[in-house]
């Protein structure tokens, strides 16, 4: 035995899979919610799985009528967002696709605007600034191009891809499939305010302006986390339509603060049951059911009575609180990850085994036959995967499978009894020998 149990408590086994730090509680009762609840989904695995599936979703070119590729981007698949497709975003017919880059194998989001009159490369002047902007609350822009791949003159912007992301309107006001819209609460509003402030600070620092705070152009990518999407579109369109810019950068940046204020105000309105839709901004704010501090921030933003620096100062305590939740969420993810660290190893092992087994070229050379040198591997596979009970009924025991594979992986000296299919002969072999056989076969594949 490689392990000696001396304690009466089975500590080791129990703990093999890591656990989240005890203080991160989950599924608290509604009144017990903590700031980390803003960021950690209740069903993290499910959500991750859905995201993975969404990333894999594909559509055949014959069905979609989409081009096979647009420059290096292929496997285009429309992202069905109620407020994105076909709608005239930015005054042009616009659609959004998921696409894979042939250069690095990553997925990207492709925003296409039809028939934008781009006549000069000068229209892309602002792109390099957007490209070099790295901010956790801004969807990164990678490149911009015009193309005839769609059989028209399309402007295409390539951004980071976030599977399963919804825009603010979808996330909070529409029932998508089974999923009810998430209720807006004051902590959530603060969190949005902070994230938008972060985005805005970084954008302004880069010498740019956001220019649009449209709830359909802000996406919720993970629980509680938002990002400005569709950045840079306005700059290009303005350059393309040759209108001389009306406002200076300074004006635009001031406008950003107001735009952010108006967006938050609209979101905050949903907290109020009575009709406040038709009231002016100044009349609406006092009616909101939020704290005085939030009202004050809203008032300052909507009246352009504040700078970014001042805003940061005012909301500093809330930002600090926000860091608390984020730290918990990072810790939680790490803890979840610790449960999964052995997965990759098993995938590699399975892939190795399946690559050598039943290979047509090996079958021909006779090494899998009863006298062949790979025969033990064949018997071992039967032993691992094809167990039966006394009545000959298949037994499906994942524990047995993983245990056997772990031992094979480590190549332990333990020996096992492998019986031939005709049950007339048997083989006693150690995991170590089996491992060497597998390794040898694998090496032969490569040579």
């Amino acid at each position: 035995p490689f392990f000696q149990q001396t304690n009466p408590f089975p500590i080791n086994y129990h703990l093999y899979a890591g656990q989240p730090p005890p203080h991160i509680h989950h599924h608290l009762k509604p009144h017990e919610k903590t700031v980390s609840d803003l960021f950690i989904p209740n069903n993290l695995r499910e959500e991750i799985q859905r995201k993975n599936e969404e990333s894999l979703r594909s559509i055949s070119v014959a069905q979609s009528g989409l081009p096979i590729h647009v420059n290096q981007y292929h496997s285009l698949c429309p992202i069905d967002q109620k407020f994105e497709t076909s709608a005239k975003s930015f005054g042009y017919v616009s659609s959004v696709y998921k696409a894979m880059s042939n250069l690095d194998g990553k997925l990207y989001t492709m925003r296409r605007l039809e028939n934008v009159p781009i006549t000069s490369e000068a229209c892309f002047r602002s792109v390099s600034k957007w490209k070099s902007l790295n901010c956790a609350n801004v969807v990164k822009l990678y490149e911009v191009m015009t193309t005839r791949a769609f059989d028209d003159n399309s402007l295409v912007l390539v951004y980071d891809y976030y599977p399963m992301s919804l825009n603010l309107l979808e996330a909070h006001f529409f029932k998508i499939g089974e999923k009810d819209p998430e209720l807006i609460t004051e902590p959530l509003l603060w969190s949005y305010l902070i994230q938008l402030t972060n985005a805005l600070s970084e954008v302004h620092k880069a010498g740019l302006a956001v220019r649009i705070f449209d709830p359909t152009k802000i996406i919720v990518t993970n629980k509680g986390r938002i990002r400005l999407s569709a950045c840079g579109v306005y700059d290009i369109l303005e350059a393309a339509t040759k209108e001389s810019p009306k406002d200076t950068l300074e004006d635009l940046q001031k406008g950003d603060l107001q735009g952010m204020g108006m967006l938050l105000l609209d979101l905050a309105k949903s907290l109020v049951f009575s009709k406040v839709q038709n009231l002016g901004v100044t009349e609406t704010i006092p009616k909101l059911t939020v704290s005085d501090k939030f009202k004050d921030v809203l008032r300052k933003l909507t009246t352009q009575d504040i700078s970014v620096a001042q805003l940061q100062q005012i909301i500093a305590p809330e930002i600090l609180l926000f860091t608390n939740g984020l730290q918990d969420s990072a810790d939680y993810m790490e803890a979840c990850l610790s449960r999964e660290v052995e997965n990759a190893r098993l995938v590699r092992l399975f892939a190795k085994l399946d690559s050598i087994c039943d290979r047509p070229e090996f079958i021909k050379d006779g090494s899998w036959s009863e006298t062949g040198e790979r025969y033990p591997i064949k018997l071992f596979r039967d032993y691992v995967f094809h167990q039966v009970d006394e009545t000959g009924k298949p037994v499906l025991d994942l524990t047995h499978v993983v245990n056997c594979l772990n031992k094979l992986d480590a190549g332990v000296k333990e020996t096992i009894l492998l019986v031939s299919p005709d049950e007339m002969s048997c083989l006693i072999v150690s995991y170590e020998t089996l491992r060497d056989l597998v390794e040898k076969s694998f090496r032969q594949l490569r040579s």
Binding site: F2, Y16, S58, L66, N71, T147, N153, N406, D409
Partner: protein, 759 residues
């Protein structure tokens, strides 16, 4: 020394046993039990590290060689359309035969290839004209190379199941010099003009060519050019100019610009969804249906315009050529409801699959099945006051002179057609029958009075390996040879290849037969009856000429142009769309479409006679100014408002009016003088034979420097005059060109031309 006893119940055979030099291995007991709570199952997400990895002292088996490289980002393998077209679905599984030699061995590892936008078409493309090292004396080597490339480009017999080059989609490429630099002549070795792509609705090219090569239709359409059309939006006239141009081009490339401009402006065309900027598509059936719809729409436009043009109540010509009286009988199996109606259609949809036959199924079986078909519909029956099924019986009583058949089958049904070897019959025989449905027979029966129908041609859909589709036309020439018209690629091909529909990449779209009556093409049908009155009168758009500035003097009958009459012409344009580039934010830039311009003004002055130099046509073209991208006033002299009736003080006419005048001058045999006329004629969208052109830019061409001189520069050099001091004015420019031409004649006569050019 140990002793080994062997016990056996086998008396006859001694048992096999191995002599072991060491103690035999025994299975070791797996002492460590895994607690139940650590058990894994297929149904839960219990982590695998509940099962411990034992102690290890050498590299784990699961470790892969760290120097192995794996590629990501590959294009997912596309299933070859050829395989898909051979597939059948049996018991829910789609299966197809596989050809290892063509598609490669099974489970072949596909390497990652960088995706690039194809710069060149699949066929080897000749150099741009500007890149030619020698414009004039082509040496042997370059001739040989061009020959080789051409025979390659016109390859029409498939090799290894590939789409032959002549059938592949061709694409115009642009150098920095624009469309003029593209060597269209490379793609046409016949006297039959092809149509350029890169216009709106280029998908209609194939159908237009099919009309062009159907003599009764061609003759009727071109004959109407004799008439002085006095209303706008006449599709018939516009198609007439186009077909006439296709003949006059004599093998040069033609662009259906004016026709497409009119077509795109028709509200019905928009409503029907016919305005498709580019016909290239991945939806095969959709493209076929679009082509059918266009053909039907076009035939109806022609019939409608016939009524308007000849002030008739019913169509005589169009109905007489291709009209098919169709009767619909609605009846109910449940009640006494019955309703009969009759209409005339101009083409027949082949959309019924005939009952299976053992062999020898041809288009005739489909035709028969489609001539008399019964459909089930649910309607609200007014008699019964409830919804119930009715039968709609469609029947055709006789076949027209020109029979247009739209092959309206699903992709699967199309796959069946592929299986029949001689599906597309070159001829058949038909006669009315007492049952009401015409009889069609593959062979003549002596003395039966059957009319013989001959295949005129058909439009085919070509699918490429990347699953895109485009349309080509295959027609039979009067000589009996077959011609392939693939946009601007035109070549003769063998009858066998033309009619072969067994290829995976080729599908019939619309097939035209005509009754054999000996009618041939009548290219000059309009000539004897031509109405040229428009040359001698004003015909302003929207009537009035109050307060207009008139800078011309109308021609009089006494001055009627004769063959050889010299006129000088100049035209001005406005820009409808700028050059289109593919830009990328990494700085790359590729021209994909040249700028699009539209005729805004044309001036023609007398080139001889007592009034030499006096303008007689100065037409401004009525234009929807909201679509103008740039007036380029400094070049065109056109200013905002000039082309809109209620704002302009110019002599505004419709494009068709202005065009007709130029077309009349051309056909009356006038010789056109002007500077750089190629571009002007291209934009006016007219084909002028070289012998009717005197282009001063060509006449004063500097061969050695390969330089064409500007008008302004030439005038200054030759006459020491300054022209074009302000915005361009087409009357002034036409006059300058006339002066230059006169000077050129002078110099030429005196033998001083070369000296003058060197100065």
């Amino acid at each position: 020394m140990q002793t080994l006893h062997l016990w056996s119940d086998q008396m006859m055979r001694p048992p096999n046993f191995a002599v072991l030099s060491q103690e035999p291995l025994r299975p070791t007991l797996d002492v460590e039990t895994i607690p139940p709570e650590n058990h894994l199952s297929f149904d839960t997400d219990a982590p695998y590290n509940l099962i411990k990895l034992p102690r290890y002292e050498s590299m784990l088996l699961s470790a892969w060689p760290s120097d192995l490289k794996f590629e990501v980002g590959k294009l997912p393998p596309q299933i070859d359309p050829e395989i898909l077209r051979d597939s059948k679905t049996i018991d829910g599984f789609t299966m197809a035969p596989y050809n290892k030699d063509k598609f490669g061995p099974r489970n072949l590892h596909v390497k990652q290839r960088p995706l690039k936008t194809k710069k060149h078409a699949d066929t080897k493309f000749p150099k741009f004209l500007s890149e030619r090292e020698d414009d004039y004396e082509e040496n042997e080597e370059s001739v040989r190379l061009k020959q080789e490339m051409m025979s390659n480009a016109f390859e029409y017999v498939p090799k290894d199941g590939e789409v032959p080059n002549a059938f592949k989609k061709t694409d115009i490429l642009y150098s920095k010099f624009g469309v003029d630099d593209f060597d269209f002549t490379f793609y046409n070795n016949t006297q039959y003009a092809g149509l350029e792509t890169h216009v709106d609705n280029a998908y209609t090219n194939a159908m237009i060519q099919l009309y062009r090569f159907t003599p009764p239709i061609f003759n009727f359409v071109v004959r109407t050019l004799a008439e002085d059309v006095r209303y706008d939006d006449c599709v018939l006239a516009e198609l007439g100019y186009l077909l006439d141009m296709l003949v006059k081009a004599n093998g040069r490339n033609v662009v259906a610009a004016n026709f497409q401009k009119l077509f795109s402006s028709l509200p019905q065309a928009r409503e029907l969804g016919l305005l498709n900027p580019d016909g290239k598509t991945r939806n095969d059936r959709g493209q076929r249906k679009l082509a059918h719809l266009f053909s039907k729409f076009l035939a109806e436009c022609l019939a409608k315009d016939e009524l308007a043009l000849y002030h008739q109540e019913t169509s005589v010509h169009v109905d007489g050529i291709c009209g098919i009286p169709a009767h619909t009988l609605l009846r109910s199996p449940y009640c006494s409801f019955e309703h009969k109606s009759s209409t005339t259609v101009y083409s027949l949809d082949l959309n019924v699959v005939p009952s299976p036959a053992v062999s020898g199924v041809t288009i005739l079986n489909y035709l028969e099945a489609s001539m008399n078909k019964t459909l089930q519909h649910n309607i609200f029956c007014q008699q019964c006051d409830r919804v119930h099924a009715i039968e709609a019986v469609l029947s055709i009583e006789q076949l027209p002179n020109v029979l247009m058949l739209n092959v309206d089958l699903t992709n699967e049904q199309m796959n069946e057609v592929r299986g029949f070897d001689d599906w597309l019959v070159p001829e058949f025989y038909s006669a009315p029958s007492h049952t009401g449905r015409p009889v069609v027979r593959p062979n003549a029966i002596a003395g039966s009075g059957l009319a013989k129908y001959e295949l005129v041609g058909f439009v085919a859909q070509i699918t490429s390996r990347d699953s895109t589709n485009h349309l080509v036309t295959l027609v039979k020439l009067p000589s009996g040879e077959w011609l392939l018209l693939n946009d601007f690629l035109v070549t003769k091909i063998s009858t066998e290849e033309a009619l072969n529909l067994t290829y995976w990449w080729k599908r019939p779209v619309t097939v035209v037969y005509r009754q054999q009556d000996g009618t041939g093409f009548d290219y000059d049908g309009w000539k004897s009856v031509i109405d040229d009155s428009i040359l001698y009168r004003d015909h302003f758009a929207q009537g009035t000429r109050e307060g207009k500035k008139i800078e011309y003097e109308l021609l009089t009958r006494a001055e009627a142009p004769k063959p050889g009459t010299l006129v000088a012409i100049d035209a001005e344009f406005v820009q409808m769309a700028p050059e289109e580039y593919n830009f990328r934010s990494n700085g790359s830039k590729v021209l994909v479409r040249p700028k699009r311009v539209s005729l805004a003004r044309v001036s023609i002055i007398r080139g001889e006679g007592p009034k030499e130099g006096v303008c007689f046509i100065d037409d401004y073209i009525l234009t929807d100014e909201s679509k103008i991208d740039d007036y380029i006033t400094s070049f065109s002299g056109i200013e905002p408002g000039d082309l809109t009736p209620d704002k302009s003080d110019k002599t505004l006419v419709t494009l068709q009016t202005a065009y007709r005048k130029i077309w009349l001058l051309l056909n009356l045999g006038c010789v056109f003088v002007g500077h750089s006329l190629g571009g002007d004629f291209r934009t006016i969208n007219i084909q002028v034979p070289p012998q009717q052109v005197r282009d001063t830019a060509e006449l004063f061409y500097l061969k050695r420097e390969k330089r064409k001189l500007g008008l302004k520069f030439l005038i200054y050099q030759v006459f020491n005059d300054r022209v074009q001091t302000g915005n361009h004015d087409s009357i002034e420019d036409a006059y300058s060109a006339l002066r230059l031409y006169r000077k050129w004649l002078e110099l030429k006569a005196a033998g001083e031309l070369d000296d003058a050019l060197q100065r």
